[in-house]
Symmetry: C2
Subunit: 210 residues, 2 copies
């Protein structure tokens, strides 16, 4: 785990819109359950460029993204970075295979904006899913959705041309070109940065005309 | 769902080594539980080249592969096929997103060898997971492994050169080049069939010499 600026119990006056929205509204937790859940999480702030996780680390807990943005990447044999995912608000961060198996992971996770995260350890999370069954059920559904999202990413990489991949990403994440560096988006999409820039300019030009 | 040659309750004399191995040994089901599980499955035989599932179909159940081999593929905008997975013995088959959501799927599943499958409908499977908790727990773990396998496929497609991808597949599935057509393996690996053939010949030559 990288360094972090603060690690404190959550004060009641902290703005945590995503987290509260998720647990109170989506999961419909009652006051006592919500307070129990909240009590197991710890707020952590990471500065832009900090590494939350390095390849070879074991993920002993996971982070909920309350605000900010991250990139998860792996290295190939030659040491070149390949971006797998971006993490935005309401996303969970870990190398989830490492989290499940307890073995060292393959992924790096780096802050590309200042982050406000809520951290929970694996044993604490497990205890919560026993105490709050709605949380367990919700995570099972989420797990399945994550599998489908991965299959979709695979289909995208295999079947879509650069234009289609850019269009799909821009539709799913309209603000991504304002928040993330072009070379990271290019790596995520498997497109050369020069081509991404050129194609995007052409696409924006077409939209302005039409 | 495509056509199938037979659909009957499982006779007790049927050879079903993989299925029995999985449920009796791996899951450790007792006699009564195993018989309950078995009673909900139906044997189906599909001839080589038959389609089990077409894009647009809803997966209302899933198949366990007792013997044989399948390919799952999607079409791009131009109608070109892209192989996502192969299904071998001990594999489960469905478009799992369609299975979960009840919406039409994207994947085609085709027999590339004669198949002996065990089919179970979604409501029957759900009922079984309630009656046999070990089955539920086992499927949760399996779901997570499936997610990690998908992340691995994504990493492979993004970071590995053709030689590394071929080597990885040959190590994981030594018999695949005997069972599956070269153009399907090429599509799965995202390598041109001509290049796959050339690289593989060179790799086999090197192994013979060393």
């Amino acid at each position: 785990m990288g360094s972090y600026l603060s690690s404190v119990a959550i004060p009641s006056n902290l703005p945590r819109p995503s987290f509260e929205q998720l647990f109170r509204k989506e999961l419909g937790l009652k006051e006592a359950e919500y307070n129990l859940v909240l009590s197991r999480f710890v707020v952590r702030h990471f500065q832009k460029r900090t590494f939350l996780l390095n390849a070879g680390d074991v993920s002993t807990g996971k982070f909920y993204v309350n605000s900010g943005c991250t990139r998860s990447f792996v290295l190939d044999r030659k040491g070149k970075e390949h971006v797998l995912f971006f993490g935005f608000e309401d996303w969970w961060l870990a190398d989830f295979e490492s989290y499940m198996t307890g073995k060292p992971g393959k992924q790096f996770i780096q802050a590309i904006e200042d982050l406000e995260l809520l951290y929970i350890s694996k044993p604490d999370f497990h205890a919560l899913t026993v105490q709050v069954p709605a949380l367990h059920e919700w995570f099972e559904v989420r797990q399945k959705k994550m599998t489908f999202a991965m299959v979709d990413r695979l289909i995208e990489v295999k079947t879509m041309c650069p234009e289609e991949r850019i269009e799909k990403l821009a539709r799913a994440r309209p603000a991504i070109f304002q928040r993330v560096a072009l070379h990271d988006i290019a790596s995520y999409l498997d497109i050369e940065p020069g081509s991404l820039s050129r194609i995007r300019k052409r696409m924006l030009g077409e939209h302005r005309i039409s």
